[in-house]
């Protein structure tokens, strides 16, 4: 059995409590937002890590990654024959199509793609949202360092590999 008018009192109590507790509004353009450390803002490219394996481009659900490349011969002194290597000509991400799923970053076997928390790259023209490899490379400076290893977790693959090699050798 509830008391008649209890709801009215409750409404007053809730609003009064909200009045005296700090407001949650963020003054965004004046005050930069405090984003979580691994925020998904924009995708950065470390060009020298890219081997043009095309995995990112193929896995992209929106097909918003465009890659062009050519092969170059590298003459290694002492080798029997010249080696071939892929050279990246074009690496574009169309952020007007991108849905920020991060599959390209997950799938990259050579750590060439990273999440950067920067998000203020809106444009007046939708075509300007196509970031080329230089623009994507500029975002690398804003990529935060990876989180430290969990002290209670298993040792990293690299560490165990080194230890194993040292033990067997």
């Amino acid at each position: 059995m509830s008391i008649p008018g209890a709801g009215l009192g409750k409404g007053l109590a809730v609003t009064l409590k909200t009045l005296v507790s700090p407001s949650i509004t963020q003054q965004y353009p004046d005050v930069a937002p405090e984003l979580p450390p691994r925020s998904r803002g924009v995708i950065a490219l470390r060009e020298e890590n890219c081997t043009v394996c095309m995995l990112c481009s193929r896995e992209c659900p929106d097909w918003c990654i465009y890659i062009d490349s050519h092969k170059e011969e590298v003459v290694v002194p002492g080798a029997a024959r010249p080696r071939q290597r892929n050279v990246l000509d074009r690496f574009d991400i169309d952020f007007s199509l991108c849905m920020y799923c991060g599959i390209c970053i997950e799938v990259c076997p050579f750590d060439a793609l990273y999440w950067s928390p920067e998000f203020e790259y809106a444009e007046y023209d939708i075509r300007d949202l196509l970031h080329d490899k230089d623009r994507l490379g500029e975002w690398m400076a804003t990529v935060p360092p990876p989180p430290p290893h969990d002290p209670n977790g298993e040792p990293s693959k690299e560490e165990t590999a080194v230890a194993k090699r040292a033990g067997t050798a």
Binding site: T15, L16, T18, L19, S23
Partner: protein, 318 residues
Amino acid sequence: MTWEIVLRVALVAVAFLTLPLLVGQTEHKVMAHMQARLGPMYAGAFHGWAQLIADGVKFAQKEDLTPREADGPVFRLAPAVALLPYLLVLLVIPLGPGDLVGQPLDVGLFFVLAIVGVGVVAVLMAAWASANKYALIGGLRAAAQLLGYELPFVLAAASVAMAAGSLSLPQIVASWRPWWLLWQLPAMLVFFVAGLAEIRRPPFDMPIADSELVFGYLTEYTGLRFAFFLLAEYVGIVVISALTAALFLGGWHGPWADSVGWLWMLLKTALVAFVVIWLRVAWPRLREDQLQRLCWLILVPVALAQLILTAAVRVALQ
């Protein structure tokens, strides 16, 4: 003597122009923080203090529209009729002890109640002259509401007049005693609730219920005329708060009343105005039938019982 009257009227006019803006700004901020927002932050650089001035400038720039089918002169006159009574009411509300009042009037309370009732004429003028179905429905709702709530409003005020044995507002405040808070408590609640309904503030904003009537009798108004109606609403808050403070909360009574009595009056008025804003944020709108039920089945009987109680205590005391 003449310059004194001019000074008093000028001061009342200043209060008429500043206090509603203060209440409006407080409403912006209080409502925002009650909803975990910040409210206006840009106008005037410091916490949006100039927001209402900016709004006023905006209203003044807007086109002054009169609908083709509208009854022009009545339509244009209605905002002034809505605004003027409150200005006149402010004239007789005592601010402090002695003659710190715009114009001491022996029948002050009678004058106040009569002139607040003019509000219904303004609403009906706006509603009928708009030639708009929403305005008409809103206006008729407002008329039913204002006429209904006039009764408990007057009865509650009569109770305190009977207790003080005077119709003069300064006289009523002067004879107020702290124990009246308890004795006149039902009358105070009835007066406050009926006052809220008189100025059509939420939860009694059925006449302008924007979810069903667009904006009720204000639907066709734009620009400065609309601003006048809004101003009338906020002056209404000031008037109802000041009347509640003067009649039931002891006006300028308080420690050091002789020197800072006016401050007590302003403080009490501000407190009641805060409650008015608070109720708007916290409570949902009353449906039309609930609204009439509250008036006739609760407020009127309570006010009548209070009258009997007041009379009994008065007789017992003599």
